[in-house]
């Protein structure tokens, strides 16, 4: 597959290079947004009482004989012996120590290992021709032995109590060693001598699988290393690319549909962001499916806030590559639009604006109606941050030009929501923003604006009539259903049965009437069984 390199480039940097932080609205999309290491915390305020922390760092199966002998330094030994010595040092570093139950154990030998790792990091960075053929299996083995492990039980509660933004992660106790092992391996991968062809015997699917499992680590430092390492592997090992993408998808499916719990989603999305960046055009069907079946459903998980910037970046990347995907993306967002979670709704509005920033006018026309029906709900939201965020769209020139071009369709949808809330919304800021929005509409097309006003008033009058009509229609159907021999008894309407919170006056007759009531469904199924 050598020609694949041309088709699919992986952008070389995840972050740190070419950060274009200009204030322009159009996103600068050369790098995915980096995952934060530290969650932003409110400073000041009363110190919360810390709940008792459970010690739950990873358990490593310790090596029995941990008495390491200090080996001579690589740089002081003759050139001919260095390879042999390097291998010896790598093997020495396969010895595992206890950092959890007894942090003070084997201090001397821990130091030997630490110094050895440190030395090898230096050695591999500053010398050429040291990554020789016999180093590959030893380096990969050393990495695997030190890192591939079952992650410990989460120290944070699962379910409703878990707040990925607030709860503190458990850090790896063995980090002093782990960090150096990661660093060494990264230098190893990046070494100019590194030959993917030689190493693919060792860095195989199984290796990648184990690497991916570590992404659930609670320690953000570890995930940061993993991210860079996986990204490099994706870049260098063409044969593993499809496999890596497939396995990442499986992690996402499990996260979306089964557990809703995984610590490394943001990092994985960050890698994918740069992968998508390099996709060749036209996009393969597989990649489009990934957008529709993985990235969009990721929007519905409750911990969206943790990885939303990375997710939105990936989505916008796709749309910049192929504007034909706009309609399914926007329809997908509308499908997963949050119903009760206001902060999440604000995130959706942010993402939607990013998408609208890059939308083609021809695509806009296809989605404008459902889109603005949702926006009309957002501007009427009783949560003022949602309403406010939606109304900020009216400050976006590009969006306003799109609205203006399609005013005949959009105004009638938006008008009722704006008009109604121009007086009735509880928040004064919203009044100002709505006033501004209505004014812009009026300037856009005075005649249309007046028509909408008229129509709104007419609709308002018809509303009651419609409600009544609807009730009558159902009444008629129930009438018909009653004529069916299967439904011989009365079909009662579903009533909301009384719910009480107070102990205050209760009417005996009401209680009796409620107790005597039979719900229609109960009666219906019972009747069917009787037949």
């Amino acid at each position: 597959m050598p020609n694949k390199t041309k088709k699919e480039k992986v952008s070389g940097c995840l972050r740190g290079c070419n950060m274009n932080e200009s204030g322009s609205k159009r996103p600068s999309n050369s790098t995915p947004p980096p995952t934060q290491l530290n969650k932003i915390k409110y400073s000041g305020g009363p110190q919360l009482v810390k709940k008792e922390r459970r010690q739950s760092s990873s358990r490593f199966s310790l090596t029995k004989n941990r008495e390491l002998q200090k080996l001579p330094a690589l740089k002081d030994s003759p050139l001919v012996d260095r390879e042999e010595l390097f291998v010896q040092k790598l093997r020495q570093c396969c010895v595992l120590f206890d950092f959890v139950s007894d942090p003070l154990s084997d201090l001397k030998y821990k130091e030997v290992k630490r110094a050895g790792l440190n030395e090898m990091v230096e050695y591999i960075t500053h010398n050429s021709d040291v990554v020789t053929e016999c180093i590959y299996p030893e380096a990969v083995l050393m990495f695997s032995v030190n890192l591939f492990r079952t992650l410990p039980p989460s120290s944070n509660p699962t379910g409703a109590e878990f707040d990925p933004e607030e709860d503190e992660p458990t850090l790896e106790a063995a980090w002093p060693h782990l960090q150096l092992v990661y660093e060494f391996f990264l230098r190893f991968l990046e070494s100019p001598d590194f030959q993917p062809n030689v190493s693919k015997k060792y860095i195989d699917q199984k290796f990648v699988m184990s690497l991916l499992e570590l992404f659930d680590s609670e320690d953000p430092r570890e995930r940061d290393f993993l991210k860079t390492i996986l990204h490099r592997i994706y870049g260098k090992f063409l044969g593993l690319r499809a496999y890596i993408r497939r396995q990442i998808n499986n992690i996402f499916y499990r996260f979306i549909y089964e557990t809703e719990h995984h610590n490394g989603i943001a990092e994985l999305l960050e890698i994918l962001g740069s992968i998508i960046n390099g996709f060749a055009l036209p996009l393969k069907e597989e990649h489009k499916m990934f957008l529709i079946r993985v990235l969009l459903p990721l929007h519905k998980v409750k911990s969206l806030s943790v990885y939303h910037p990375q997710l939105a970046y990936c989505v916008v990347q796709f749309l910049e590559k192929d504007s034909g995907l706009t309609e399914p993306v926007i329809m997908g967002l509308l499908k997963f639009w949050p119903k009760t979670h206001s902060p999440k709704e604000v995130m959706f509005l942010n993402e939607l604006e990013e998408i609208l920033d890059v939308i083609e006018p021809s695509e806009f026309v296809k989605v404008q109606e459902p889109l603005f029906r949702q926006l009309s709900k957002c501007v009427s939201s009783p949560h003022f941050q949602v309403a406010e965020r939606a109304l900020y769209y009216w400050n976006n020139e590009y969006i306003m030009s799109l609205i203006s071009d399609n005013a005949a369709k959009i105004l009638p949808i938006m008008f009722p929501a704006l008009y109604k809330n121009s007086k009735s919304h509880w928040n004064k800021t919203i009044h100002g923003l709505i006033y501004n929005a209505l004014k812009l509409f009026m300037e856009m097309n005075q005649k249309l604006f007046d028509d909408c006003t008229q129509q709104y008033k007419a609709e308002k009058q018809k509303e009651k009539y419609k409600l009544k009509e609807r009730e009558e229609i159902w009444h008629k159907i129930e009438e018909l259903a009653r004529q069916n021999p299967q439904g011989t008894k009365d079909l009662k309407k579903d009533k909301v049965l009384m719910r009480r919170k107070s102990e205050l006056p209760q009417d005996v007759y009401t209680i009796k009437a409620l107790e005597a009531h039979k719900r229609a469904e109960e009666y219906l199924t019972a009747n069917q069984e009787a037949l």
Partner: protein
Amino acid sequence: MAGADGDDSLYPIAVLIDELRNEDVQLRLNSIKKLSTIALALGVERTRTELLPFLTDTIYDEDEVLLALAEQLGNFTMLVGGPEYVHCLLPPLESLATVEETVVRDKAVESLRKISQEHSPVDLEVHFEPLVKRLASGDWFTSRTSACGLFSVCYPRVSSTVKAEIRQHFRTLCSDDTPMVRRAAASKLGEFAKVLELDYVKSDIISLFTALASDEQDSVRLLAVEACVSIATLLPQEDLETLVMPTLRQAAEDKSWRVRYMVADKFSELQKAVGPEITKNDLVPAFQNLLKDCEAEVRAAAANKVKEFCENLPEDSREQIIMTHILPCVKELVSDTNQHVKSALASVIMGLSTILGKDNTIEHLLPLFLAQLKDECPEVRLNIISNLDCVNEVIGIRQLSQSLLPAIVELAEDAKWRVRLAIIEYMPLLAGQLGVEFFDEKLNTLCMAWLIDHVYAIREAATCNLMKLVEKFGAEWAQNTIVPKVLGMANDPNYLHRMTTLFCINALSEACGQDITTKQMLPVVLKMSNDQVANVRFNVAKSLQKIGPVLDSNALQSEVKPVLEKLATDTDMDVKYFAQEAISVLALA
């Protein structure tokens, strides 16, 4: 509205179509929930020919609506014309079984399982089984996942050729590429094994079980442990050793704690499934290892099973196994570093005393109970106290009472009201075990102190507790110890405490009987009708209504009636209301 007046027959569907187009999800949801009404209005034939095709073709909606639809269709058999036509429901359910959202899919599968029972064997082969096949070979993992739940419901009622096909499909799904499907298959493995003929269990299921139990993903492996229980139950004893045990042993020592946790969690079931001999030789050492596992999660799960495991050991060697193998591990767990482990142990450890008998309990278990009673974590102490009855049967509670008291007192004054609440709930039990003298001497003051706790839930529980104590110790005891103190609170400056008096009277009057109620309680209640706080006054009315049936008619007429009549003219409307209600309920008008 289409056909609103002219053609009545088209009407119901037109309404549904119209409503399902509505913007408001709630409205669409309501319409779907009334689907049976529409079907009734249409009649069976037109439900089959018009409603179901419409639903199959046009349904694309929010998951909430789809969920409601999937549920409704499971109960639709009669509405399409009975079992003869039940297969008409398959197309819409098939497409619901392939959607992405898990809850919708699961509900569709549930409905399909339900209506599969209503298919005749012929229909099952002609209509249902092909659907299962289509799902099982679907492109997208969702449909294959759904298929896993459908094999076992159709297998028993189809011909042997079709059975062979079904087995083949299940095999394929067990080695599916996506872990989601393998998980679904692994979770149904036990269920599927149960409907298979024994020969196929041995030839097919065992190899699938072995493969799933050594899957690369621990989430798959742990599901195989669940299946292990069903499979081991199905096989004859002589085959267990070769077919099941290697895999089970491997699971108990899996490198992933999740798998070991599962083994610990299912330990009692596994124990029953493999029988006494294997238990002695294999499970005992495995259980010891789990009790000593390096992850607290696993230790806690195993600790929870200690009692059940010991109970189910074969009688001939039970005591010996417990004393030499289990008890040493249990002793270590008492001082575990993790409070969840200790508290799991505390909830079952008392149960060991019945198994080990008096002497062993005193010698070996008692020190452990005492240690746990002094544990720093309130949950551990509570769990010990809540199981005191087990020990009482074996050695009597006296052995413990010296250590018990400080533990109870400390819990009774715990800063967390939920802890206080929990200990109150065990008071009647404790009182029964410890006897009246001990109670009067040591615990009575505690019970009275709770009545003036600053948390309402505690005061309420304390009131209820008093009632249970009176039921245990009798009216005479109440008259001497409780009633005076309760009535004394009627003069408390805090109106909440005065109300507590009334609540206590409500709870106690019946248990105390007519004499005490009339002579001691009634005067206090009546006197409180002049309280300056309206809440107290209307509670007087409520109390009078409550204790009225206990009083004789003389007292009712001469004492209660005038007071209620006066309250019925109170300035406060709630007082008036409850006074009037009491008058009418007690028939004093």
